[in-house]
Symmetry: C2
Subunit: 104 residues, 2 copies
């Protein structure tokens, strides 16, 4: 399956608001409809890390340019994020472990 | 600074135990002493995502082979992890945003 692409989005919020959570959920639903989307994982406590997975770099550029996503990015910078970092990475190798009780 | 390497470690625990947290902290301290280590970010709620950053692939292989880390990996598979996935990725582009109030 490799190589594929990962977008690592690391963020710090001012506060977690209802508005933010709703928008994050909407964006996840929208990303899933994009061509080339492979999957997404998120976790948050002090910082948030969201990793989205894509078939190729063009799919990432298309998602970045999506009009509704552009608006969400603008709102995020104005209202919710103290800071964030986005890293575009080419996944070259993977390892998996599972006790086959509960899958990732 | 690109290209550099990211190890994306996504995991599901049976339960969060004191033993796990202590080991995770020890491994983070140990990783920081490795040659080629650049940084680490972690977040956990339902799933855990830890991204560690490295200068090159050799640094990642050296860390994987570290004897204390090998023991921690073994304990993790036996005691703490229901499942995990490790992805080795080459970071090619980055974007950053900050309101310069609280840095990542």
């Amino acid at each position: 399956m490799t190589p594929y692409y990962a977008v690592i989005f690391t963020s710090i919020l001012y506060t977690t608001t209802k508005g933010y959570e709703k928008m994050a959920q909407q964006m996840e639903e929208l990303a899933k409809k994009q061509s080339g989307f492979l999957g997404i994982s998120s976790a948050r406590n002090d910082i948030g890390i969201t990793v989205s997975y894509w078939n190729n770099e063009q799919a990432i550029l298309d998602w970045k340019a999506n009009v509704d996503h552009q608006l969400a990015q603008k709102l995020g910078r104005e209202k919710w994020y103290a800071s964030y970092k986005i890293e575009i990475a080419r996944v070259e190798r993977t390892y998996e472990f599972s006790k086959k009780i509960k899958a990732l």
